[in-house]
């Protein structure tokens, strides 16, 4: 797709997203499910900034997702009931952790980078499970609530109005994806693509590759924690599973499902992932088995994902 067609597609998608709270119930789809898809989609888009557009595989990004969730929940439960402050602090927690982890691993590459991110991700899961008094351990953090969010004179009651929460999530999603898209089009983003295509040549051109990978890791972690923070608000619950390595794997799978080379693909991937999980678990309790098999088939036969395979078809 080129210029006008592409912008038409984006406008169409936006129109669809805006009308969804009124359209989805007609098909019997619960709006909370749509909100969940958009939040996970944001996480997948954020992770794809690193994997798809920088060419660095992290398999531990659930850490930042979960830290965003726990940060937000902990602020609301223990400190102040101000929702905007809780989101900001949750994102800050996730992002600062990404800065520290990124600093430690920026010089690693390839599978070594992946192995280390796996292990790092597990640290926070472990802490959340063990530090019962603060994190609630296995049960997670429940029984908290926040203030409505004020925009001018309007108040968004996101804790008891699902549609309000949906639009709040949607606005944050659009802003985040717009920022990511602008970043990718900027000279900074072009350098990331150059690193993905050929790291050696980029370093010959004077690019300090490690530094760029670090910054890309942090940006990706930042938007991941935004998604995590929203996820906690949606469920009214900070869940230790959001920190688990299977969560990291699920995010990577969403990217592959949707298409690794596309900005919007991961959103489609999240839609497919949540849809599959929802449908399969309504038929059998062994959804892990079925979804595992589907993962394997996709990896073996559709490595470019659904969007990727489609656009390849269209080009032919």
């Amino acid at each position: 797709m080129n210029g006008p067609a592409k912008s038409l597609a984006v406008v169409g998608l936006l129109a669809l997203l805006i009308s969804l709270p009124y359209v989805a119930p007609l098909f019997g789809i619960y709006i909370g499910l749509v909100t969940r898809i958009i939040i996970l989609g944001l996480g997948a888009v954020a992770l794809n900034f690193l994997i798809g557009f920088t060419g660095v595989v992290s398999f531990g990004h659930a850490a930042f997702f979960g830290l965003g969730a726990y940060g937000t929940a902990m602020v609301l439960k223990y400190f102040v009931p101000s929702t905007p402050l809780a989101i900001i602090l949750g994102v800050l927690l996730g992002t600062l952790t990404a800065v520290l982890v990124g600093a430690l691993i920026q010089q690693l590459r390839g599978i070594y980078f992946a192995v280390v991110t796996i292990a790092f991700g597990q640290i926070f899961y472990y802490i959340a499970m063990q530090w019962h008094t603060v994190t609630g351990g296995d049960d997670g953090l429940t029984n908290w609530s926040g203030s409505p969010i004020g925009i001018g004179s309007m108040k968004l009651h996101i804790f008891n109005d699902e549609v309000a929460l949906y639009y709040f999530v949607l606005v944050i999603f659009i802003i985040s994806v717009a920022i990511i898209s602008l970043l990718l089009k900027s000279p900074f983003g072009r350098i990331l693509l150059a690193i993905r295509e050929n790291e050696l040549r980029s370093s010959f051109l004077g690019v300090s590759v490690n530094r760029y990978i670090w910054v890309s890791f942090v940006i990706s972690g930042l938007f991941m924690s935004v998604a995590g923070s929203l996820y906690a608000l949606l469920n009214n619950f900070a869940d230790p599973h959001t920190l688990h390595w299977t969560m990291s794997g699920d995010f990577v799978m969403m990217i592959i499902l949707g298409g690794i080379r596309s900005l919007w693909g991961p959103l489609l991937g999240a839609l497919l992932f949540v849809g599959l999980q929802d449908v399969i678990s309504s038929y059998t309790e062994h959804w892990m088995f079925v979804i595992g098999i589907i993962f394997m088939i996709i990896v073996l036969y559709f490595p470019r994902g659904i969007l990727g395979s489609l656009s390849l078809r269209l080009k032919k």
Binding site: I51, V57, F59, L104, I105, Q107, L108, R109, G110, I111, Y112, A114, V115, V116, I118, A119, F120, Q122, I123, Y126, I127, Q130, W131, W245, T246, G249, V252, M253, I256, H286, M288, F289, I291, G292, I293, I294, F295, M296, V299, L300, P303
Partner: protein, 289 residues
């Protein structure tokens, strides 16, 4: 006090043996094929459950002998069907494939043997202490360390003194060159994967005697095994063994005094190693990239 320290160190050595066995298998596979096998914990569980099912007929020793071999055969088949097509592609894909496989294995175990945890019987005399003055030195703990030492011994003598082992070691340095010298690398990678899975299988049967059987039993061992590889240094098998024992002992000693920090100390060691020696204790620089 001394006795307590000895007990915790021994405990740590036992845990470390698990980590080392698991990590050795993971390491073998990573070194030769650049595949990070997420399903390693799944294979561990499969082997443990197979041992559970066959032990009424063949006894504990028979199960310890046969279950890992059967698991390795499963591994050989899966490698040739699902993993082989992904060699040469971005490592991301094999990572995801084994991730899906981990889901499948865990759920399959749950489907066949149920979600509730099952006890695994070990011979009576193994559960008894070896000597009266050190009541905590049970035969089973000694057995685990012995099995680890024997397995590592056999593995290293295979790697250094047989044709297969020499080819595997050569392949970790330059697989194309090995292929060009007329070695069938399809078979080489297949066997290498099988050996790795076999080691996970041995660890699985032994683990079943300590922690019992659960579909997700591999999960608690696979993460520390990754850490063992990182601490020891990717590319070095000796490093992996030492890394596994090191973090095991550290976890054992710290766990004695602060039980909830037992696993945290493992990750702390990883951070320290990454800070001061990013390639790991025994990692070679050229294998990093």
């Amino acid at each position: 006090m001394n006795e307590l320290l000895l007990l915790s160190a021994l405990n740590g050595l036992v845990i470390g043996s698990f980590y080392a066995l698991m990590a050795l298998g993971l390491s073998l596979i990573i070194n030769l094929t650049k595949v990070i096998n997420f399903a390693h914990g799944g294979f561990l569980a499969v082997s443990a459950y197979l041992a559970y099912s066959m032990s009424p007929y063949v006894g504990f020793w028979g199960a310890l002998l046969i279950a890992p071999i059967l698991t390795a055969v499963v591994g050989l088949m899966i490698e040739s069907v699902a993993i082989r097509p992904l060699y040469g592609r971005d490592p991301l894909y094999s990572l995801l494939l084994t991730f899906g496989l981990a889901y499948v294995l865990q759920d399959a175990a749950q489907f066949i043997w149920g979600a509730q945890s099952l006890p695994f019987r070990i011979p009576q005399w193994l559960a008894a202490p070896v000597s009266n003055s050190y009541f905590f030195v049970t035969g089973y703990r000694v057995l685990m360390i012995v099995v680890m030492v024997v397995a590592v011994g056999i593995l290293f003598s295979t790697l250094y003194h047989t044709r297969l082992g020499i080819r595997i070691r050569a392949g970790t340095l330059d697989l194309d060159m090995v292929a060009a010298s007329g070695v069938n690398i399809r078979i080489l990678r297949n066997l290498n994967f099988g050996i790795g899975v076999y080691l996970a299988g041995v660890a699985g049967v032994l683990a079943a005697g300590v922690i019992g059987l659960q579909p997700a039993m591999g999960e608690s061992i696979i993460m520390p095994s990754f850490v063992a590889i990182i601490v020891g240094g990717i590319g070095s098998l000796i490093g992996t063994v030492i890394g596994g024992l090191l973090i095991g002992v550290a976890a054992g000693i710290v766990g004695m005094f602060f039980p909830s920090a037992a696993e945290l100390v493992i990750y702390l060691m990883m951070v320290i190693v990454l800070l001061f020696r990013p390639r790991g204790l025994f990692g070679q620089k050229e294998i990093l990239l």
